[in-house]
């Protein structure tokens, strides 16, 4: 299975380069709410929140619009998606999106654009 992971021993600088890269790649603009990776701060520690390919969104989708591809990555079929936003609600990481000005939802496809943008090499795509 292919997925994006966060390395344990590397410090995230909260520079948001990954967030910018993701949102610009898929929405052609930078907006924090349009990124499938989030940077959060908890008690002074900064942490990237990424899609763990858990499939909760897929199970919740009433249209069956989210399915696993050959690499095990959950993908949204935009033709089937009706934009109800249920997937967004159940995502445990808060990274499944349904922006107000978009017809359909979107999620991390493990493309690695964010990992390339990260100056600290915090992120990596792993296949297991």
């Amino acid at each position: 299975m292919k997925r994006l992971t966060v390395k344990k021993d590397v410090e995230c600088m909260a520079c948001l380069s990954c967030v910018v890269a993701c949102s610009e790649a898929f929405y052609k603009e930078f907006h924090q709410d349009k990124s499938c990776i989030r940077i959060v701060e908890n008690n002074g520690t900064v942490k990237p929140m990424v899609c763990i390919q858990c499939g909760k969104c897929a199970r919740e989708c009433p249209q069956g619009a989210i399915t696993q591809n050959a690499n095990g990555v959950y993908m949204i079929n935009k033709k089937l998606c009706i934009g109800c936003g249920r997937c967004k609600e159940v995502c445990p990481m808060g990274v499944c999106l349904k922006p107000d000005d978009s017809e359909t939802a979107s999620k991390c496809i493990a493309c690695g654009i964010c990992a390339k943008a990260c100056p600290m090499d915090v992120l990596e795509i792993v296949e297991s």
């Binding site: 410090e11 600088m13 909260a14 520079c15 959060v40 900064v46 100056p119 600290m120 090499d121």
Partner: protein, 632 residues
């Protein structure tokens, strides 16, 4: 421990919460919300390791990219950022000072601006080697203004006020090659040094930071302070009130905010104008109430007794009361948020300076030449706005306390004269202060200054540290937003002596002072430099030996860093509660905070500690170390 006028942090926070609720009703934004939106902060910026000085960058220093594209290492990048931060602060303070000198140049008999303290002007003339004998006071004022303005760009020589420093201090500056030259030159040199392809040697950069700080503290700021006194009067102890409850429900409320007293003095003058008061009454108001925020608030509080509505992070609160007819601002520390916020209420947001122009404001340009007309127009606009109040939104939290403010160096000496035996001792010295410190009745002094910063629970560090220090018999001198924090909490009233240790309490009773002495605005930290110099001279020791330290627990602005530089350069150890974007470089950190850096040059350094309890302990410890070294 408690006396009834003490206002707790929790009470202030409750009041803020009520005001925020008021704001939510009209869809207002707030700094509290914006802090959430901005978090987490980028650590490259926060540790000073991002360079965007040239367009090959921005370059960020990481384990895999230890140098910028030009090859600059992390120490060079952090050091350059630090110099630029300092230069920004020195520029702001010094330009404020320059504005004051321009105003001084416009003074005339019977004019909007006059010389209110001719004796001080003559003393200053004497210091600067200008003949005052037989001269018309206004001719002298103009001559001094011109000479002062030349301090900004003189091709050769050093700042005139440097002569005020003790000889030892001047020698240190000489040796370290940091004697401040023309003010504009130090700022330009800082910008030049940090242009792409110049200095990347941390040591050279820190040296220039100190020099730039000195051109502020012993140049621009000092001029701002001294000549404000000449025009508006040297502060004397004065009673006033503080906290948000100083806004009056039935009156036209005008909030003055910013730094330059030239504007606020005029606003206060016209708020007392019978014609304006009659106009206010014709609109159903009981009168006109001017209150201050930030350093402009300090300036008019200590000279005119104008109430202090709050400090830096209270600037939105005054609008949120729904009872603010106008916020009149001059320069510095003004949230651009005030524009959009004022639009949620009836409040007029009036900008007055080409230096601070903002969207959603009414701009009434303030000129020294037309100050009277400008001041009157501003007050009129506020008064006429009273009728637009939405009474449903008026909600002024009932928090108000008393404060005694206005302790200039002159005022402190005067207070001390009261306990001097005039038959035996000289008057007008700091010797009585020296004697009580020597005797251990007072352990030492802390100069507490600086802003608020949401990185610290607002005002908590100021107030908790002050309480701790006075309980340990350490007298606290304050300025800027730190002063307002003290005033808001009730720590500047004479009754605050109850919170002091036995020794300090006795001194407060004897001399008739509060344990926290209000020395003014942030340019007035120059007063503290004069105080430290005079104390060292009267004592016969070096400034660095006197048990005095500086502290800025909640600082945020570039000006604060400039101040920090000149305070340590003057020989006073300084304790910071917020890191100055330098932790990314071990070299810069060592230079500023270690034993072998600035400490070798000027006998003082910085301590950065974000744990406020610890910060307080460290200050007390440093004071005791200094005492031990003096064998007292």
């Amino acid at each position: 421990m408690n006396y009834d006028r003490l206002i707790s942090i929790e009470q202030m926070e409750q009041a803020t919460e009520i005001l925020l609720e008021n704001g939510r009703r009209v869809g207002a934004d707030s700094w509290q919300q914006r802090v959430k939106n901005q978090s987490p902060h980028c650590s490259f910026g926060e540790s000073g390791t991002c360079c965007r000085i040239c367009s090959m960058g921005p370059c960020r220093i990481t384990p895999k990219s230890p140098r910028g594209i030009c090859g600059c290492d992390v120490h060079g990048i952090v050091g350059r950022n630090y110099v630029r931060f300092t230069a920004g602060g020195a520029a702001a303070h010094s330009d404020h000072g320059r504005q004051i000198m321009h105003t001084l140049y416009q003074t005339k008999e019977g004019g909007a601006y006059q010389v209110k303290d001719p004796d001080k002007l003559k003393k200053l003339a004497d210091e600067w080697g200008v003949e005052s004998e037989g001269k018309d006071i206004y001719d002298l004022a103009h001559e001094m203004a011109y000479k002062g303005l030349l301090e900004y760009g003189k091709p050769f020589g050093e700042q005139l006020f440097v002569q005020r420093a003790p000889e030892h201090t001047r020698e240190l500056w000489e040796k370290a090659n940091i004697v401040p030259r023309a003010i504009d030159r130090e700022i330009s040199t800082s910008m030049h040094m940090t242009h792409m392809g110049n200095s990347s040697l941390a040591e050279a950069l820190i040296r220039q930071s100190l020099r730039t700080g000195l051109c502020d503290g012993w140049g621009g700021s000092m001029m701002g302070t001294e000549f404000s006194d000449v025009m508006f009067g040297t502060p004397k102890p004065k009673d006033t009130t503080a906290n948000i409850g100083v806004m009056e429900k039935d009156m036209v409320n005008i909030v003055v905010h910013g730094h330059d007293p030239s504007v606020s003095e005029m606003v206060v003058f016209y708020a007392n104008d019978p014609e304006m008061i009659a106009l206010a009454k014709s609109y159903g108001a009981k009168g006109i109430n001017v209150v201050g925020v930030c350093c402009t608030g300090n300036e008019v509080a200590m000279r005119l007794g104008i109430p202090m509505a709050g400090n830096f992070l209270c600037q939105e609160n005054v609008v949120l009361t729904g009872a603010c007819e106008a916020v009149v601002v001059d320069v510095q520390c003004i949230f651009p948020a005030l524009g959009p916020l004022s639009k949620c209420f009836h409040t007029k947001f009036i900008t007055t300076s080409p230096i601070a122009m903002m969207p959603d404001s009414d701009f009434i340009e303030f000129h020294e030449e037309t100050a009277a007309a400008n001041g009157k127009a501003i007050v009129k606009m506020a008064v006429e706005n009273f009728k637009n109040r939405d009474w449903d939104l008026v909600n002024i939290p009932n928090l108000k306390t008393e404060a005694r403010v206005g302790y200039s160096v002159e005022a402190i000496k005067k207070c001390l004269d009261g306990v001097t035996n005039s038959h035996v001792d000289d008057l007008g010295t700091l010797k009585p202060l020296r004697d009580v410190v020597k005797a251990g009745v007072i352990r030492g002094a802390v100069a507490m200054v600086g802003c608020n910063n949401p990185k610290v629970r607002p005002d908590t560090a100021h107030i908790e540290l002050m309480k701790k220090l006075i309980a340990n018999d350490v007298i606290v001198i304050v300025s800027g937003c730190s002063a307002q924090a003290a005033a808001k909490a009730g720590l500047m009233s004479l009754e605050a002596k109850e919170l002091c240790g036995e020794g300090l309490k006795r001194v407060c009773e004897l001399v008739g002072i509060p344990p926290i002495l209000h020395m003014g605005s942030c340019v007035d930290i120059s007063r503290m430099m004069v105080l430290a110099s005079d104390l060292a001279k009267d004592w016969g020791v070096n400034i660095s030996q006197v048990p005095v330290v500086g502290c800025a627990p909640e600082w945020m602005s570039e000006k604060a860093v400039s101040i920090g530089n000149y305070v340590i350069a003057t020989g006073i150890d300084t304790f910071l509660g917020v890191d100055p974007y330098t932790k990314g470089s071990t070299e810069v950190t060592e230079l500023l905070q270690g034993e072998h850096g600035v400490k070798d040059w000027v006998e003082a350094n910085f301590t950065v500690e974000t744990n406020i309890e610890k910060l307080g302990d460290m200050m007390l410890q440093r004071i005791e170390e200094k005492r031990a070294a003096l064998c007292i």
